[in-house]
């Protein structure tokens, strides 16, 4: 567990240098052992050193591998690191910038100049690619990898990203989110459209209700509270 963190200014400097033409190369000797190991995992999984793009549907499988194996909670990283934007910034900007680029390729701006998608690297912590896919699995964890994959495969990336990007006033209620996702991806909602619609409605209702009630103290506990967020099932 010897990962480093990276401050926003250094991250910006690294990505700006790539953007302005410096080759996006990572010198393994500049990385600590755990970072080198993580990079090795990525190079084995995405064996081509450059291109083609990493498709969006890879996010789910990669997120699950990160969460349950390469960056597993309490074994590889602790909750403090998982919540530390500097930790994720270090991974996206210093350790794996070339893989982030393959997932989020540069795009021309209004003047036709190619720009990197800096939000996915350092600019917006809530949009950091690796942070989002790791937290997506953490907040959706259904007890094991297979059940989590089944649940998440019923939801599109956008639906899940919206949950991860909205930390709320004080942070996530992890168990509550896991139960909401379990309910939204249950057999009651047989396809992606109905599951996503149910999830969106439930999240809105939850945001409103948590202003005035404490979910854990619902008459039927957390499960009862979650059931009340899906009134169409009642």
């Amino acid at each position: 567990m010897s990962y480093r963190t990276l401050d926003k200014i250094s991250a910006k400097s690294i990505i700006t240098s790539f953007e302005s033409g410096a080759e996006c190369l990572v010198e393994p000797s500049s990385l600590v052992a755990s970072e080198q190991q993580l990079r090795k995992h990525f190079s084995e999984r995405f064996y081509r050193p450059t291109g083609p793009e990493i498709p969006a549907d890879e996010d789910l499988k990669l997120g699950l591998t990160l969460y349950s194996d390469w960056l597993s909670l309490d074994e590889e990283i602790d909750p403090r690191m998982a919540a530390d934007d500097g930790f994720w910034r270090n991974l996206t900007c210093r350790v794996l910038p070339d893989y982030v680029l393959r997932r989020w390729p540069e795009k021309p701006n209004a003047e036709g100049i190619l720009k990197w998608n800096v939000d996915r690297y350092y600019n917006k912590p809530q949009r950091n690619w690796l942070k989002i896919i790791w937290w997506m699995c953490h907040l959706s964890w259904q007890g094991d990898k297979k059940s989590t994959e089944e649940a998440l495969s019923k939801l599109g990336n956008d639906a899940i990203s919206q949950i991860v990007e909205r930390t709320g006033q004080g942070g996530y209620r992890v168990n509550l989110y896991r139960e909401i996702i379990a309910k939204a991806t249950s057999d009651a909602y047989p396809n992606q459209a109905s599951a996503e619609a149910a999830l969106r409605r439930a999240m809105k209702l939850n945001t409103m209700r948590t202003q005035t009630t404490i979910p854990e103290f619902h008459a039927d506990g957390l499960l009862g509270y979650v059931a009340s967020l899906f009134p169409e099932e009642a």
């Binding site: 200014i9 909750p79 403090r80 912590p125 996530y172 209620r173 005035t212 619902h218």
Partner: protein
């Protein structure tokens, strides 16, 4: 603009409640120290509590006479036959988590003895800050209401109010350090510059990542405390730079985040109602604005009033 939610039922106003708050780590008592930003740091006989390595238990003890007084107050809020409970609510934006302790019902039977609420955190669980407050909620609703009577709070788990003070534990840093960095810049460069790098001023921490003053140590007017190896007090020039930086920080929030965001920050009445996280850029601004009664009617007024900030 986000507005504070007003529940559709009567609630307790923020009441002062005398409680004993104590902190422990692996059976050892921790001593709190108040920091200048209103947060608290913890140590054990002079050795700092380290969130990465040490566990944390937060205990709140409430005396029986205080509980009786609270129960009497609750009769003004609850329908007859309903019962309230109390619990410790906590949030740690920096750890991306929040939650609530096991609750204790305000039953007549447990009012003879003091009651104790606890929150426990493992080593490596908390980062940045952790805030906690005592809440009162509806433990069990009334079975039957009087004829014609309606109570919208007759729902289990309804929040009825906050009791006592809001506490913020600082897990990292000291919270009071203004982010100033000496930088060996160009001799002909500016004496100081600002980096405003926050993406969300309400949640990003007020630290060197989001905001920093860079002092050019190669500039001929660089104040001595930034070039000397000895620890020296802040010079009048550095204080003047900080005051101007605070004004620029406010102007940046007004232009980058919008006047609505700024108005939300400055109109916040208390930290417990705040729509921003403890230790955030917005929290720092709120502190500067209210503590120094700044005038933001025009940029010139703002600069002038910031010039009077006592440092």
């Amino acid at each position: 603009m986000r507005k504070k939610i007003i529940p559709p039922y009567p609630t307790l106003s923020e009441s002062h409640l005398e409680v004993i708050v104590s902190y422990h780590s692996d059976g050892n008592d921790l001593q709190p120290e108040n920091l200048t930003d209103g947060s608290t740091s913890l140590s054990c006989n002079g050795t700092p509590w380290i969130a990465q390595n040490d566990s944390l238990t937060i205990s709140i003890e409430i005396d029986s006479d205080v509980l009786l007084k609270l129960k009497r107050t609750m009769t003004n809020v609850l329908p007859a036959g309903a019962m309230a409970g109390i619990a410790l609510s906590w949030q740690s934006k920096g750890s991306l988590k929040c939650g609530v302790s096991d609750p204790i019902p305000l039953e007549p039977s447990n009012q003879e003895q003091p009651i104790k609420l606890e929150l426990k955190f493992k080593p490596g669980e908390i980062r940045d800050t952790l805030s906690h407050e005592l809440i009162v909620y509806l433990q069990s609703p009334a079975d039957a209401l009087e004829r014609g009577e309606t109570h919208k709070c007759n729902t289990m788990g309804a929040r009825l109010g906050i009791l006592g003070d809001h506490h913020t534990i600082r897990a990292d840093g000291r919270g009071s350090v203004f982010p100033i960095f000496p930088v060996a810049g160009d001799k002909s460069g500016a004496l100081w510059s600002l980096n405003c790098n926050w993406s969300d001023c309400k949640n990003d921490s007020f630290d060197g990542d989001s905001f920093r003053i860079n002092i050019n140590t190669n500039h001929r007017d660089c104040p001595g405390e930034w070039t000397s190896d000895e620890k020296r007090p802040l010079s009048p020039l550095t204080k003047s730079i900080i005051r101007d930086a605070i004004a620029t920080l406010i102007l940046s929030v007004q232009s980058e985040d919008g006047s609505e965001t700024w108005n939300t920050i400055k109109r916040t009445e208390s930290l417990s109602d705040a729509e921003f996280s403890p230790g955030s850029v917005a929290h720092a601004l709120w502190h500067f604005y209210n503590q120094n009664k700044l005038n933001d009617e025009t940029p010139a007024d703002l600069m002038e009033s910031c010039g009077k900030i006592k440092l």
